[in-house]
Symmetry: C2
Subunit: 327 residues, 2 copies
Amino acid sequence: MITIAVDMMGSDLGPEELSKGVIKYLDANNDVSFICFGDPERLKALDNNPRVKIVKTTEVVPMETSPLGFLRLKDSSMYKALEAVQTNQAQGLVTAGSTGGFITGATLILKNIPGVKRAGFCSYFPSKVKDKSVAILDLGASNINTPEELVGFAKLGSLYYQESMGKKDPSVYLLSNGTEEGKGLEECRQAYQLLKNEKDVNFKGNAEARDALDGTKDVIVSPGYPGNIFLKASEGMALTFSSLIKQAFKRNLLSKIGYLFAKKGFTYIHDLFDYKKTGGAMLLGINGVAVKTHGNSTGDFLYYSLDLAYRMVKTDFVGKVKSQFKE
Amino acid sequence: MITIAVDMMGSDLGPEELSKGVIKYLDANNDVSFICFGDPERLKALDNNPRVKIVKTTEVVPMETSPLGFLRLKDSSMYKALEAVQTNQAQGLVTAGSTGGFITGATLILKNIPGVKRAGFCSYFPSKVKDKSVAILDLGASNINTPEELVGFAKLGSLYYQESMGKKDPSVYLLSNGTEEGKGLEECRQAYQLLKNEKDVNFKGNAEARDALDGTKDVIVSPGYPGNIFLKASEGMALTFSSLIKQAFKRNLLSKIGYLFAKKGFTYIHDLFDYKKTGGAMLLGINGVAVKTHGNSTGDFLYYSLDLAYRMVKTDFVGKVKSQFKE
């Protein structure tokens, strides 16, 4: 039996919505139990389930929080969920709460695995090719990174891709402003040289941001700040297009009829960009499985994040990182 | 009469295509003449036009070029076009060739305006709001920038927006990974403090990459490397969606009929993301009007870039930068 701690508070849609995902996952998987942290009044749907333990917490980490702000909230659902992993009551945790709080908390409470210089915040992105996702890190756990940290990200991302996608020797690229060897930030140029000789990584060179999601790449490594800009710019543009497509079809009766005729192709686009199945973002290199799901997660979305946490515990991802980073 | 130098070589679609844009602009504007640099054999369409001077060049700057590589190509169409501005034969230039070559050439041949520490590569982006564009710089003339250079970009971008869009006191934001004051790279946090006290700039704080194109912002400033990542990530996602929408409608006879019904809404999306009218990118802070148009520019696209160059000469943009940066 694998136990996952779930921070039920601090999401946009509330603990009632997240509870649906917990219940759905319990129904689908007999080998899992949950410790759910939050306001018991809002977790009634989970009452009396033999594989759910509800732990009352009185505080919620706000979306925008400083490291110090987070550390003061010792009775928050997020703090307690992290602590449950640290004290081995649970083997992994999932939260839909503050990303800043999550990164601070995971780094300070769970700590980095020995040999890991920096943890990397990693998420799968959909690509132009159906069912082909790209893992990108760091998406903003750091701002700037040393060449050695970037090499660490490459190793972590590679192992993560292998364990979560089941593909050996995934291809690894450095995000850059040009494909040629000399392009990019100084730290990336140095990492390029180190990666050429790194046996644990199937390094393929630089990838331009424009081609990152072309479906030919498995893992893309970047310092945290440009990685975050990449994430947010892609997200912004995808959201803009999604909302424009919806508007275009809702325009009038004619366009609604048009939708009925063209529906299949647009369902395909929707499926292609369905972030649900990628399961959220994981902080790699941390001493524990720590998954961050979308702030506006529905129960369905949470389901996939719970599954990601479950699979990463099951495959002993943390143990594998430990042995790879042991000097 | 305003004279614009045009580098006719080094584009994807060739000088024959670009010639169409030159002819179209000559027809639309009596107050302009062109010096066109390139292979005369491929510029026959421009022969005998009293307002076109064709200058034969024998070399073409390749798309991927190093600064040294560029400097060796002294008889290239790009080098000669830049030289024409430097020697006052033309007041501005437009090129569809290598971006790297263009930035190197403009910086070394035309040089920065006194007081400008770094030139900023600036382009308009379409936003969610129709006919509302956002100027973003630096898109990659530099990789990293000092706080003072970022303040310079803010002043240049602000003046550019004012002169090209005719809006006084445009709002200026710093691209960041969070809207709060303390967010972002160290150099951006310092620039934030300087910008609060900068009288020439209507500074509004940080903008997240996700909200950059929401149509509420006029100018966005970033160091060159993350700026370039923003540009390429947005472009990549927009291209992906455009091609997916096309595919969805071309799927079969039914979907093609669907398109006929829903056409209007999708024409709207197309118009919204029509980069043509934004006229290409300009290198701001350079001692001369220097416009870079898309590598795959059609004649129509070039038309708008020629118009941008014309308008920036006409409004004496360079003179205005000179007086603002005079100490």
